[in-house]
Structure formats: C-alpha cells, structure tokens
Symmetry: C2
Subunit: 119 residues, 2 copies
Amino acid sequence: MHVDANRIIDALGSLAQEHRLAIFRLLVQAGPEGMAAGAIAEALGVPNSSLSFHLAHLHRAGLIGQQRQSRSLIYTADYESMNALIGFLTENCCAGSGCAPTAQTEPDTLSTRKQRKTA
Amino acid sequence: MHVDANRIIDALGSLAQEHRLAIFRLLVQAGPEGMAAGAIAEALGVPNSSLSFHLAHLHRAGLIGQQRQSRSLIYTADYESMNALIGFLTENCCAGSGCAPTAQTEPDTLSTRKQRKTA
DNA sequence: CGAATATTTCGATAATCGTAGAAATATCGT
DNA sequence: ACGATATTTCTACGATTATCGAAATATTCG
C-alpha cells in the first residue's frame, strides 16, 4: 500500500453524495476559472449553509481548491487529486483481470463509454 | 439529476469505507475464483456479522457478485461495474482540463466533452 | 433425521451525516 | 464607519451508518 488508503476513502466518501458529486462535476465543467460559492448554490438549488458544508467536505478531502476573489470565494476542481483517485482505483481495483478503462480496448463491451445522446 | 448518478453514488459510497474497500481489493486480488465469506472475514479480521453487512452493501451496489458453492458463498469482484465507475469519473470529472491519468489518447471523447447540458 | 459448518438476519447502541435557519465573519463601495 | 453583499459557522434535529453478539437460515455429511 504505497498510497494512503484513508485519503482515498475520504475522496470516495466526498464524492459519494448527490450534492457533492454535482458540485464537483459543475466545477470540472467550469474549468480552471472555477465558480463562486453563491453561483454554485444557485446553479444547484442548495441553501447556502448546506452548500458550504459540502464545499468544506470536498475541500477537506483535497478534491477542490479555494481562493478568494474580492467578496466571493472561488472554488476549483483539483484535477490532480481526481487523477490520483482514478489512478488508485485503476491500479488497486482493476489489476489482474480485464479492467483497463483508459486502454485502447474495444468499446463494444463497455457500457458507459458511449453514452452520447444523439438527440 | 442524471439517471445513472445514483448508481455511481452507490458505488462510490460502497467503496468509501475501510472494510469495504479492503474487501473489494481482496476480491480483485483473488481474481475470478473469488473468495468465501468466511475466508474474507478471517483475512481481514472482521466479525462475520459485520462482514456480512459490508458484503451485502457491496453486492447491492453491484460491485461484487455472489455465488453459492456448497456450504460457502463465494464473492467475486465485478470488474464491469468498477470499469463503469472509473469510466464515469474519467469522463465526468476530468473532462475539459488536464486530467488524463495514463494517456490522452482519447481525443474523440475528451475534446467534444466541453458542454453537456442535459441528460 | 440430527449434528456440524457457513453465512445471514435480528436487535440494540453509539457515532456520523445531511439539512437549513439564524448568527457571525469577511470584504467592498460609499 | 456604515450598509450591502458573500460565505461560513453555530445549532439543533432527524436519518443513516457501523458494529457485533445472538439467533435464525441454508447446506452437507453421517
């Protein structure tokens, strides 16, 4: 175990919640510029105090960064942490058998790969 | 709320626990042959009733499979579910910016993933 | 059938989590 | 300094989670 399992558990637990997962996905979409807490609250329809709780949770887990910009606190997704999480899952939970998502395997057998909706 | 978000949250929540993460890693190591519940309990030093709780949790989330073999219940890691989980994280939580763990050899998927509004 | 083995379910308990209004803190503009 | 804006912290409370001994359920063997 070269990687801290507790860190991984914290990261997994942080994402294992409806609002927090939505927050993180929103911040990923927002890109490096991030989003202010208020903008996130409005976008997700979550009360400020509840959102702050979840932002603190994600921040404690190292999944998002925080930086003040005048009156607003701008949050940004921490891609490195997510990278480490995915790396851990890929290494520790896929070894041995056929579970290599990032490889050039045929997407035929993969269910979540091609979820694009051709509306 | 996306349709498959709940499934992802269940999977994340299942792995976001010390014993359950250890169980899953153990089953990944065990390979397709899997392990009996008792063997898992002994390997991890967890009481039977506690372990059963966690096994049921993982099974409910679809992360592990169950199959009886005489008196023992053999559990196996479900690689496809883990694959789907990693795929979701890679697609939804790494798109847009530099978060490509092992390679960025998927320009098709990642480049057009800028804006997805509905699902 | 009855004893032995393997695992789950039940039950109770302590701990943690999610929620959201209210109060507090921080920053800006005037 | 004062008022307005942005966000967090405080507080309380219901819901969920983790734990594990004891009892119950399945399965095999003699």
